[in-house]
Amino acid sequence: MKLFKKMSLLAAVSLVAVSALVGSASAASSLSGKITINGSTALLPLTLQAAKEFQKLNPKVKIAASGKGSVTGPQAVKKGIAEIGACDWDASMDVPGFKAFDGQVANKVAVIPFATIANKNVKVNNLTTEQLKGIYSGKITNWKDVGGDNADIVVITRAFGSGTRVNYQSKALAGGDIVKKEKNYKEVGSSGDMKTAVATTPNAIGYIDLVYVNSDVKAISYNGVAPTTDNVINGTYKIWAYGYYMTKGQPTGATKAFIEYVQSQKFQQGSLKKLKFIPVSAMH
């Protein structure tokens, strides 16, 4: 029973301590509120960085951010679970596989470039839209048909519904299909897995956010243009998409202030660039 007394004392003390903390927190600063952000994992690093900076300026605003998958963003907004739904495509319009979310506003926050990648043993440096369409639809199955060695092409793709896949299909494949095959075809669940799979599988081809591309894999040019941030900005490299914050109607209050902070020149030219995204303003 002694233990019991001790426990209850401990509980009482911690209760007092917690309530004191809560009490002291609710003081200072003008802007207040709670922002829940859900959705895309690709945009999560940007969201977390922005949340950290924004909370320093506005200590009374609480931001909870998490990443799961692009489509969960607008869904969470629709259900009222989250104020902001981060999504790799404009969810207020129809995209292949997903209907538009009515009444939601898409706020552009960043430009995300994507790259076609291949295993380092692949000799091909450039692929055209038609060649990529052929490869992903299963019509072209050997590297020699696109100017490489005589070897089977191993297609690595993201699962259906992935934001990267939605964008890659609509930009790089011009809406073309990615067709499931019995051999030499594999689906992976995340950008990290994509990189590992392509890097370790000979003759593999895949696609990924440009920020993930490093010396482990070979970046392939698209219609003769190398995938670099400069080529995205000067308009020659076409495989890129805006990252969006979806909101229910026009954002208000703390949510509005947060989105404005992310869109501000200070954040776009500073932290956003450091995280290897491209500022929205660079695309005009």
Binding site: M1, K68, G69, S70, V71, T72, Q75, K79, G97, F98, A151, D152, V154, A159, F160, G161, S162, K180, K181, E182, K183, N184, Y185, K186, E187, V188, G189, D193, T196, A197, T200, T201, P202, N203
Partner: protein
């Protein structure tokens, strides 16, 4: 703990010479109270567990059954075409893959695990036992993602070279990783079961002129049968429910695995690959819940089945 100190009181009794009836009464009350409290505590524990289990079944089941408002029972269970983006929700291939993966895993793991258990429990000298047991315990505790990563970086390139396939992913890779994962679990529990077999059984068998092999095969292993079956259950439930390690090596393509190297998909890997990319109120989401529900049902059935077998076996023995 409090009850054990209470039980020491009668001895103190004599020392104090003046046992007050009041003290006795309160002691009696305390013991009664403690007993009753513990009774409620245990009851509460059981109820809490049943409640959680009930909730899981209820909520998964509720969402799962919505599937059949949109597609037919027959399509889900007998069609091999899982292409949700085109409204085809045939899970048969995935279900078959799950069962064959589990079977393949057990076929590889159980003989080795039981053999290893016999070695540790019966044959090996003490110093080997003292090394093997902690090593196996450590292996049980390694997170599945570590096994998956090893599978992806070591096993797959090896299988690729061995088989001449371009991708090493498939049932074989997954089964090998799973076999490695469940082996220590099965081995350790079997080992314990074998060690529990009374020494007199062995002595009697030797006295009747059995060879060592006969003692092992005819006496010790059958006597430890139920324990070994429990071990297999534990291994099997781990194999059937394992997700992360499988996702990394199976290829994640929703199709029936016709050969061991076809990139395939099992229930767990299919759920984890797709659940984050589906809309809440879609048949796709319901169908994935149905798969989760099915996984639950499959493990229940398998456990009941093996329990039943175990009981039958022990009655015979």
């Amino acid at each position: 703990m409090s009850t054990s100190t209470q039980q020491a009181v009668p001895e103190d009794h004599a020392l104090f010479m003046e046992p007050s009836s009041k003290g006795r009464f309160s002691r009696y009350m305390r013991v009664r109270m403690a007993n009753r409290l513990f009774k409620y505590y245990f009851l509460f524990s059981i109820l809490a567990l049943c409640f959680v289990l009930g909730l899981v079944i209820f909520f998964i089941g509720k969402t799962a059954l919505l599937t059949f408002a949109h597609i037919s029972f027959a399509e889900f269970f007998f069609s091999f075409n899982w292409t949700p983006e085109e409204d085809h929700f045939g899970a048969a291939g995935i279900i078959v893959n799950t069962l064959s993966l589990t079977a393949l895993t057990l076929v590889m793991a159980v003989p080795i695990a039981v053999g290893l258990a016999v070695l540790i429990a019966e044959i090996a000298p003490k110093w080997i036992k003292n090394i093997m047991r902690p090593v196996l315990d450590l292996l049980v505790g390694i997170p599945s993602i570590v096994y998956g990563y090893l599978g992806l970086t070591v096993l797959i390139p090896f299988l690729r070279r061995l088989s001449g396939e371009n991708l090493g992913d498939g049932l074989l890779a997954a089964a090998l990783v799973l076999a490695l994962m469940v082996l220590p679990t099965i081995c350790r529990i079997s080992d314990e079961a074998i060690s529990m077999v009374p020494k007199k059984y062995r002595e009697a068998a030797y006295a009747l002129g059995s060879t060592r092999l006969q003692v092992m095969m005819r006496v010790v292993i059958p006597a430890a049968g139920r324990g070994i079956i429990t071990a297999v259950i534990m291994g099997m439930t781990r194999a059937i429910g394992e997700t992360m390690a499988v996702v990394m090596v199976i290829g994640n393509t929703a199709q029936l695995a016709k050969i061991l190297f076809t990139p395939a998909s099992v229930l767990t890997s299919n759920i984890v690959m797709q659940i984050s990319n589906v809309e809440f109120d879609s048949t796709w989401n319901y169908a994935l819940h149905m798969m989760a529900f099915l996984l639950l049902v499959i493990s229940f059935i398998l456990i009941l089945f093996i329990r039943y077998l175990g009981r039958k076996g022990s009655e015979k023995a």
